[in-house]
Point group: C2
Chain length 392, copies 2
């Protein structure tokens, strides 16, 4: 956006989503209970954007008859697409980058996400995904030994030692999420989105995971080296904290509530098509957990009812871009739906790489994607002015 704003003579506006950052409708009470959280929905967020844009057009000199384009990545990409669908009178088009608008209900199989993570690791080094696949049982076996928990805690340099089997499950979940996050941020250059990382971090990780046929303890020591790439690229970290997977909160509370109401995304793994332990999607357990956390129960069909699921062909002017390395691409739109609902796939891209700033190490595929995106946007702007002309 920063790189093309001048060419498009654009003003950039970053609108903060309600209940995130500083936009807390009830201050420190905003997350107190479901009554205070009741206003946290994607529909309300879209309505905020509609009011904001109308306000800006009314108050900023020269803004009145100018076209507006919605842009976003990830959940922000879903919002951008949905905003164009619901408010086509307010934005002339939307760029929805890495927006998994189909990761709901049973629109895509629940296993596509973990399968995509696995593919990244498989392609990033020999035996890499096999090593991870074997690590789960290795952890279980080690944990069952007399001094296993202590050994594991020390081998993995955990800040807080493991004390029971629940901690072991927590450890596995944390390691899984680390691999997931690495797949999301597998960028071609040093970056710092979820953590400070080297270029192509999975390749770096996989250098430690070349041999799956070693002893359990050696395998876990290798896993530690791999985790260390993600958690300690700076070399300053003295122990690993299994209650965190990213350096800064990306609105974890707000998202947790949204995931427990509207944003119900089914995930699963089977340990065959992917490198994770088998875990089925269980709506009842998910719902019970939501009730425990927030006093609410999810409405898993609502997003499809509201935003159309796969049946969106009557809309226009939305670009869905996805990186093939990004596990979220499995729930994204990766094929053109119509002439004006188009998909751009970036083979060497991770999570919304196209929205990141230009970089000397950008692969050609993302440069092409960006230039195509700009071409579409120029067309929307041109069409907008043409339709304005017709009215006069």
């Amino acid at each position: 956006m920063w790189d093309v704003a001048e060419e498009l003579k654009a003003m950039l506006v970053f609108a903060e989503h309600r209940y995130y950052g500083e936009s807390l409708p009830f201050g420190s009470n905003s997350f107190k209970d479901s009554k205070h959280l009741n206003f946290l929905t994607s529909e309300q967020a879209l309505a905020d954007f509609a009011k904001l844009i109308k306000y800006l057009k009314r108050t900023i000199p020269g803004a009145k008859n100018q076209p507006v384009i919605a842009l976003g990545g990830s959940y922000g990409g879903m919002l951008a697409a949905w905003f164009r669908m619901k408010y086509p009178h307010i934005v002339v088009g939307a760029l929805a980058s890495s927006a998994p608008i189909w990761q709901f209900e049973n629109i895509v199989p629940c296993g596509v996400f973990m399968k995509a993570v696995t593919t990244d690791f498989r392609k990033s080094g020999p035996n890499c995904s096999e090593s991870i696949h074997r690590s789960w049982d290795a952890i279980s076996r080690l944990a069952k030994k007399g001094t296993g928990l202590r050994w594991l805690s020390e081998a993995l340099h955990l800040c807080t030692p493991l004390t029971n089997s629940q901690d072991v499950q927590h450890l596995k979940d944390w390691i899984s999420e680390t691999w997931v996050n690495l797949a999301m941020v597998d960028y071609p250059y040093e970056s710092n989105f979820l953590q400070p990382l080297p270029a192509w971090p999975i390749k770096v990780v996989c250098q430690y995971l070349k041999n799956p046929s070693v002893s359990d303890s050696l395998l876990l020591q290798n896993i530690f080296q791999a985790l260390n790439v993600y958690y300690n690229y700076s070399g300053q970290v003295r122990c690993l904290n299994i209650s965190e997977t990213a350096t800064s909160s990306l609105g974890a509370q707000g998202w947790s509530y949204q995931a427990c109401t509207e944003m119900v995304m089914p995930f699963c793994s089977n340990g065959i098509d992917d490198m994770f332990e088998p875990r089925s999607w269980n709506l009842k357990d998910y719902s019970d957990e939501c009730f425990k956390l927030w006093g609410v129960r999810p409405r898993p069909s609502w997003i499809t009812t509201m935003y159309g699921g796969k049946n969106i062909s009557s809309h226009t002017n939305i670009i869905f871009s996805n990186g093939e390395l990004d596990p979220w691409s499995g729930g994204g739109v990766t094929k053109n739906i119509t002439d004006t609902l188009v998909a751009i796939v970036i083979p060497d891209g991770a999570h919304h790489l196209d929205l990141r700033a230009n970089n000397a190490f950008d692969p050609t595929s993302v440069l092409l994607a960006r230039s195509l995106e700009v071409r579409y946007m120029k067309q929307w702007i041109k069409d907008f002015y043409a339709s304005l002309g017709k009215k006069h």
Copy 2:
């Protein structure tokens, strides 16, 4: 709908709007206060329809892959149009009959409505609108006389005698609303929508109002005869009750609240382009009245922000039909916007005449309108099946 359902092999579903009829979310407490009324919005009503249609498609044998069309008149027509705009994945098209979607903010002049009422009376008999125009001052002059209030109460056969100047204002408002209602239901045959009425009721009314240049008392006696057409077509009514203008409530409470929140329709009259006393549109007074009634203040721009105002050309498959006799046509869509956002004007039609049952006295214009509507609907259905075919 009843007349064409069989031809279209259609199932008819009448969905009751929340807070109307028996659909009271909090039972008898539903209208208690703004907290209980908070869920009464057009957006929530549309969401109900979306959920209902998905439920019906899931549970009714054979309904699954069938197209759905939204139909409605008046506010129901606005909902039908808005439903197609916001949920194009759920309905293939909408027939919005007499839907004044532009009677908001300053999209149309606030005077169009009363002007249209006046035109109906002007065309329905010589001097008819002039007689009404003169009646307001005549009432004021009579009311100022010593026994004027008593005389007026008797001459108009009021159930409750007038006692002060506030009552006189109330009387004028009630008479005005009567003329407005007559314009809405000026149907070509006997009907019973707001009241039991003869065919072309305004023509009947105007037979009593041919001479505006009579004395004040004679003019008011004539006005009584005219009112009697509307309130006493049966001949059974013994006195006129100025706190009612329709035989049964069409959800007056719910609409009053909606008019005080989202559905803010500016109306005005100037006594020059129309036959009414001048009354300007005053948002502040309106808002204060709303606060007194419901403890809420209106959001006059919201409907335009939400539903696009005049900027709706990106949508498809909506028929806007309007009767030229209907005062609501002033805020309706009476010209084609695109090939698939089309307007049908019925010169001899009053409020949503096209949605009424076939009648031997139907003017040709409404027969043509209906047949055109059915033709569009068949096209939508055909397009729907064609797109289904493409997917397989």
